[in-house]
């Protein structure tokens, strides 16, 4: 059964259960350089492997960019 997750405002569809760890891998993102928020709660890096995204989740994945 497929489910939908909103990542950085974009909706994505998944067919099978996916952990944050494997999601980042699929997106080509290095865990050490980013932070993840799931439904307004920060997911600690140590929990990426054990945290699965669920239908209707809203994820924000951020990093540092240039700013003043």
């Amino acid at each position: 059964m497929s489910f939908r997750v909103t990542i950085n405002g974009e909706e994505r569809r998944f067919e099978t259960a996916v952990s944050i760890d494997s999601l980042l891998d699929e997106l080509g993102l290095e865990p050490a350089k980013i932070a993840v928020e799931r439904n307004l709660e920060i997911v600690p890096r140590s929990q990426y492997r054990d945290t699965n995204v669920a239908d209707g989740d809203r994820l924000e994945i951020v990093h540092f960019i240039g700013g003043g």
Partner: protein, 263 residues
């Protein structure tokens, strides 16, 4: 051993950490991160302000700030630019802490898109939330000595009044207020926003500021690397002039050569 008389005897200390440079530079508006890194080198700065934003999911191979400016070598100061509520600012900095592992942050809660003037009521509220959550908070604020005192009493790590609006390059518009803030503060006072060129930075330091932040003044110069070097020298010169103590101003001339022995 006697210290060398021509140098600043004291380092800048923020939240218990010492820095030799009293110039903090931004990382926005440069043509490239490569140019930014060269400007950083020329500026001698040990702290850079950075923003927290969504990663680009469609092109994760885009250049990354951390690949040009090493956060293990340079202190990253995450900001809350673009936040208009205390909650947005706190949310942003909690993500920054997770991404980088640092507690030292720059809080700015804006009240108006046109002037980017700080909303001080939201700023105070956010500062309190962050300090309660264990952050060391450097706070962008207006140049009101009473607000600065309130921030200090809350436990701010540094008070950072604007010289003039963000990105305006208009220099210090209220030197009297900045001086009043400095006189009363027991934490570092850092002029943030409005520094347009080297002389503005020198004026800030001569007033007794502990440090200066410059982003647009360097990034939008025709030669940002050269301007970064100019800002470095201006901050040093202003600091030394402050420590030296300027002469009193007089209304009329006072000859530099003695009158006695005149033929």
């Amino acid at each position: 051993m006697m210290r060398e008389a021509s140098t600043d005897p004291k380092p800048l200390v923020i939240a218990g950490k010492s820095y030799r440079s009293r110039l903090i530079i931004g990382t926005g508006k440069y043509k490239s991160y490569e140019q930014n890194a060269r400007a950083l080198e020329a500026s001698g700065a040990e702290i850079v302000t950075v923003a927290v934003r969504r990663v680009n999911l469609t092109d994760p191979s885009q250049p990354k700030l951390v690949d040009f400016i090493d956060p293990r070598r340079v202190t990253y100061l995450p900001n809350t630019a673009g936040c208009f509520t205390g909650e947005d600012a706190v949310r942003t900095l909690r993500l920054a802490r997770e991404a980088g592992g640092w507690n030292l942050v720059k809080l700015e809660v804006l009240g108006d898109k046109k002037t980017l003037y700080p909303d001080m009521l939201e700023t105070l509220r956010a500062a309190e939330m962050l300090i309660d959550d264990g952050f060391q908070v450097m706070v962008y604020c207006n140049d009101d000595p009473m607000m600065a005192k309130r921030l200090e009493n809350l436990g701010a790590a540094a008070i950072m009044p604007l010289a003039s609006p963000i990105g305006s390059g208009l220099g210090i518009q209220s030197p009297i207020n900045i001086r009043l803030i400095i006189e009363e503060a027991k934490v570092p006072v850092i002029v943030d926003a409005g520094i347009g060129t080297a002389s503005d930075a020198a004026v800030a330091m001569e007033l007794g500021c502990d440090a200066v932040i410059s982003n647009t003044g360097i990034a939008e110069a025709k030669d940002p690397v050269l301007m970064a070097s100019a800002m470095k020298h201006a901050v040093d010169a202003g600091r030394l002039a402050y420590l030296a103590g300027r002469m009193a101003k007089k209304r009329y001339a006072d000859p530099s050569s003695p009158l006695a022995g005149l033929i």
